[in-house]
């Protein structure tokens, strides 16, 4: 008998509509989702299925048209813009397909960005940055700018940036979409390690089945609705 794990994220009756020009498009239809704390969840689906929209709602980047989004014990769909920004800083680490690093900043400065919003001293920030660099295996690339790093290294820097403020969950939008297979596996392995050893809740959006196989649960997003694909059981 397995213990009931409390949900870190809970989405109830989520409807999301966009207006593009004169068109009103409903992307998510009455969607419900519970994500247990410490889960590695893969959201799969074809382009335009609504998986990134769903991820944005969980990460507090967007608000639902209808429904409730509760993450880390907070009802975030009701927060103001400023409060939501502060909430994101405290609870969510983001990893994007194209890394989205600041091109003029070195790896360590990029990683330090979320910490600038905290009250940590310079020494504490440096310590945390170097700890994050150690975790992603880039301690020797700290002073390199993104243009001096490979795609895989840039994504590791992005993961370090997502980790450095010790967020409640990691939200990754196609984190391996721009990487070759071997590098993609390295990145996914790193995310799995973070999930297993640091007990981070990881949510990955991908349309790559091999990437999804790293997750402990896979959900299919199709035409704005969710289908449980498989509950992966791994040692």
């Amino acid at each position: 008998m397995s213990a009931v794990v409390p949900a870190i994220a809970s989405l109830k009756n989520i409807v999301k509509r966009y207006t593009r020009g004169k068109q009103n498009i409903e992307v998510l239809h009455s969607l419900n989702l519970e994500i247990p704390d410490g889960e590695f969840l893969a959201l799969m689906g074809p382009s335009g299925s609504g998986k990134t929209t769903l991820l944005n709602l969980i990460g507090g980047l967007d608000r639902p048209t209808e429904g409730e989004v509760t993450v880390a014990g907070q009802r975030i769909d009701r927060l103001s813009g400023g409060a939501l920004a502060k909430w994101r800083a405290r609870h969510v680490g983001f990893v994007f397909q194209f890394y989205n690093l600041m091109p003029m900043l070195t790896a360590e400065r990029n990683i330090e960005l979320p910490l600038l919003l905290t009250s940590l001293s310079r020494a504490e920030r440096r310590k945390n940055v170097h700890a994050a660099l150690e975790i992603v295996g880039l301690a020797d690339r700290a002073t390199h700018k993104p243009s001096e790093l490979s795609g895989g290294e840039q994504q590791r820097v992005a993961i370090a940036r997502a980790l450095v403020a010790d967020p409640t969950l990691l939200v990754c939008d196609e984190p391996t979409g721009d990487l070759d297979r071997a590098t993609a596996d390295e990145i996914l392995g790193l995310l799995r390690t973070l999930n297993r050893e640091q007990h981070k809740t990881v949510i990955v959006v991908t349309h790559d089945q091999k990437a999804a196989d790293f997750a402990t649960r896979q959900l299919q997003v199709d035409k704005g609705s969710l289908t449980d694909v498989a509950a992966a059981s791994r040692p």
């Binding site: 990134t52 944005n56 990460g59 980047l61 967007d62 813009g81 400023g82 920004a85 502060k86 909430w87 994101r88 800083a89 405290r90 983001f94 994007f96 989205n100 600041m102 091109p103 003029m104 900043l105 400065r109 960005l113 979320p114 600038l116 919003l117 310079r122 920030r125 940036r161």
Partner: protein
């Protein structure tokens, strides 16, 4: 301070564009510093005007002469301590570009009224006894290498001698100092008696009277009394404080303040568009990066402050470099514009203008970031 690397990264993202914008701001503030410095020279002249001295000129125009006979009548009025007179001689030395501020005066009357001009007694005496004698300011003597004993020809653009010649010969018999304001050391004074005897027209007249009042608090009453005394005469007077007179005198040549304001207005108007465009472009190009900052938890306010600080650093750096260059140029231009310097008030004004420029050019792009939708920006929509 912790945001400094981020600020620097934003500015240095397009290095060439930032450098050129910075250079534009530097040039504008060099001009600002220079023009304000020149303006300050004239302002100093106004500020140096004594409160116990009045200038009495013709009501029609101060270029109209007044009868010499007014001297005794002004002297007899209550509240008047002393009276001197001067005329505008309008001369250059050797070349029209070597303009010389020269005035025929009665030295015995004139120098006691101007204690700020320090002339040794023996040199004053030499001036009184030498018909063609002249005393010159220390700066003017230095400029042309004149010394006591030199015979100097000046060409008047107004006054001809009875023989029809416009060249006047003078013997330098003294050099005066103006320790409180070196810009007062550029004048050339000579005997009014020589001038009046030799000139071909307007004999028996003076350009204006200088009246020292017994009590500065009563200066306006004395001025009114002088004007009343000559009311309804062929030569009505206009008596005013020395400051008002100097102001009118400077405006006769040019409204320096207006010229300075106009040039600077045009320069900063152009700069406004240039810097504004740079800031706008800079923000437009960084929309995805700013969206990432917002994603990471930077609030709208934090991003607005960041963009405004970028504009502030750019404008303030340009302003300070420009003003420093202007301060460095002034000593080299001393021979042309006289003793000018960049005062703390001009530095303060320059900094304030830079801050204003930063706010005006930084606010529109900063405001734009508040309307930035993270999801759209990240999706490059």
């Amino acid at each position: 301070m912790k945001f400094l690397p981020l600020l620097w990264a934003g500015l240095w993202r397009k290095r060439t564009r930032t450098i050129f914008t910075l250079l534009s701001i530097v040039v504008a503030f060099v001009l600002f510093g220079m023009l304000q410095g020149v303006n300050a020279v004239f302002s100093n002249a106004l500020n140096a005007a004594a409160v116990d001295r009045l200038s009495v000129v013709s009501r029609i125009s101060f270029t109209e002469p007044l009868p010499f006979s007014y001297l005794a009548q002004i002297e007899s009025l209550p509240g008047v301590a002393a009276v001197a007179y001067q005329s505008w001689f309008g001369t250059y030395y050797q070349d029209p570009k070597n303009f010389v501020f020269s005035f025929p005066v009665d030295p015995v009357r004139f120098f006691p009224l101007y204690p700020e001009l320090q002339l040794p007694k023996d040199e004053l005496a030499a001036l009184v006894r030498t018909r063609t004698g002249a005393v010159v300011g220390r700066e003017l003597a230095r400029k042309y290498g004149w010394k006591i004993g030199d015979r100097v020809p000046l060409h008047s653009v107004i006054w001809t001698q009875a023989n029809g010649r416009s060249d006047w010969q003078f013997d330098i018999v003294g050099i005066y100092d103006a320790p409180n304001d070196p810009n007062q050391g550029i004048s050339f004074f000579f005997n009014h008696s020589y001038f009046d005897e030799a000139r071909s027209f307007s004999k028996g007249t003076v350009g204006w009277y200088v009246v020292k009042v017994k009590d500065p608090a009563q200066a306006m009453q004395v001025a009114a009394a002088i004007d009343r005394r000559f009311a309804n005469s062929p030569d009505e007077t206009k008596s005013q404080s020395e400051k008002e007179f100097t102001q009118a005198f400077i405006k006769q040549a040019a409204d320096i303040s207006f010229i300075v304001s106009s040039i600077l207005g045009a320069v900063f108007f152009t700069l406004l568009f240039l810097t504004g465009n740079t800031m706008m472009q800079s923000v437009r190009e960084r929309v995805p990066e700013l969206a990432v900052l917002k994603t990471l938890g930077f609030t709208d306010f934090a991003v607005v402050v960041l963009v405004l600080c970028e504009a502030l650093v750019l404008c303030l750096a340009g302003a300070l470099i420009g003003l420093a260059i202007a301060a460095g140029i002034f000593p080299a231009l001393k021979r042309v514009i006289g003793e000018a310097s960049l005062s703390w008030s001009i530095l303060g004004l320059g900094s304030a203008v830079a801050v204003l420029l930063a706010l005006v050019t930084g606010l529109p792009p900063a405001w734009r970031t508040t309307r930035l939708n993270i999801v759209d920006a990240l999706a490059d929509r």
